[in-house]
Amino acid sequence: MEQQQVLFDYILRIADNALILGHRISERCGHGPSLETDIGMTNVALDLVGHANMLLEYAAEVENKGRTADDLAFLRDTREFKNALLVEQENGHFGDIIVRQFIFDTFNYYFFEALCESADEQLVSIAKKAIKEVSYHFKYSAEWVIRLGDGTEESHGKVQEALNELWAFSGELYTSDSLDKDAVKHGFGVDLDAIKVKADKRIEYILKEATLTLPEEGWMHRGGKQGKHSEDLGRLLAEMQWMQRAYPGMNW
C-alpha cells in the first residue's frame, strides 16, 4: 500500500480510539459515583478528545482531500471508524468503566511512549504532548483498580467480573495486522509485540496489588481496527454525529 495511505489509516486508528473512548466517558459526565470521580473521569474524556483533535487534524492534512478534522469525526460512518472494539463497549457501572480504562491506558501509555520514537515528526510531536496526559491516566486507572480490587468484597467481585468480561477485548490492541506491519516497515509505526511485553508486566503487577485474577488467555475479539464494529458503535455515532448531520455546516 502507498505510504501516505498507510499513514492516513494508521493515524485514524489512534485518533478513533481516543475519540470513541472520549465520547463514551463523556456520556457519564454528571453521573459519576462521586464529585471527585465525575470530574476526574470527565477530565480524562477531555484529554482524549484533545488527542483525537490533534490526530484527526494531522490525518486530514495527510489525506489532502479537503476534509477537516470535524468532517472526519462527524461525517464518517461506522465502517470507516478504525478504533479497537474495547473503546466502543458500553458503559456499565464505575467498575466496568475503570477496568476498560485500565486496559486501554496501559496499552496507550506504552504505545505513545514508543510513538515518541516514530520516524514521522508530526506523530512524535503529537505523542510528546499526549504522553503527559496519558501518563496521568495510566496512573489514575491503575490506582482505582487497586482500590476497588483490594477493597470490599462487593467492589472486588464487581471489578473481577468486569475484568473477566473485558479481557477478551484486550488482545486486539496488541495484534498486528498488515497495516501495523507496513507502518513499522515505513518507520513511523509502533512494534506492538514489543510493547505487549511491557504492558503484560505492568498489568500483572497492578492486578497482583489489586488481588485480582488475570483471566486465562482465550478468545480475543477482533475487527474494530479493520472497520468491523458492533451495534454499540452505531448507536454511539448516532448520538455523537446527529447534530452535524441534521444541520450540516452548523456553527455556534
Binding site: 462521586s34 471527585e36 476526574g40 496512573k139 490506582e143 482500590r147 470490599t152
Partner: protein, 94 residues
C-alpha cells in the same frame, strides 16, 4: 468503605507565582494518594497550581469564631507595629 464514609481532606494549592499554599476547598478521598489525585483533578483544572498539600480535615485544629477575645489584646498595642522608624532609602523594601 462506601463513598459516604470517605474521609474529608482540606486542599491547599500554591500557584506558580505564589509563595505560600492557599486553602482552596475540600474533597473526599479514600486515602492520601487518592486525595492528591482528586485535588489535582478538581482544583488544578485551570492551571491554578504547581504544588498541592492535602491534610485530613480531622487534623486541622482551628480557633473558634466566638473566641474573638483571643485577638483583643493585639488591637490596642500600636507599639508592636514597626512603623515608627524612618527606613533609609538605600535599604529598599523590607
Amino acid at each position: 468503605m462506601s463513598n459516604q464514609t470517605w474521609p474529608l481532606w482540606e486542599v491547599f494549592i500554591r500557584s506558580k507565582a505564589g509563595l505560600s499554599h492557599k486553602h482552596v476547598g475540600s474533597l473526599h478521598a479514600t486515602d492520601e494518594d487518592m486525595a492528591i489525585q482528586n485535588a489535582r483533578d478538581v482544583y488544578t483544572r485551570r492551571n491554578e497550581g504547581v504544588s498541592i498539600w492535602v491534610v485530613e480535615s480531622k487534623h486541622i485544629v482551628a480557633s473558634a469564631p466566638e473566641e474573638g477575645d483571643m485577638f483583643e489584646a493585639a488591637k490596642t498595642k500600636v507599639y508592636r507595629h514597626p512603623t515608627f522608624y524612618d527606613i533609609p532609602e538605600e535599604i529598599g523594601h523590607m
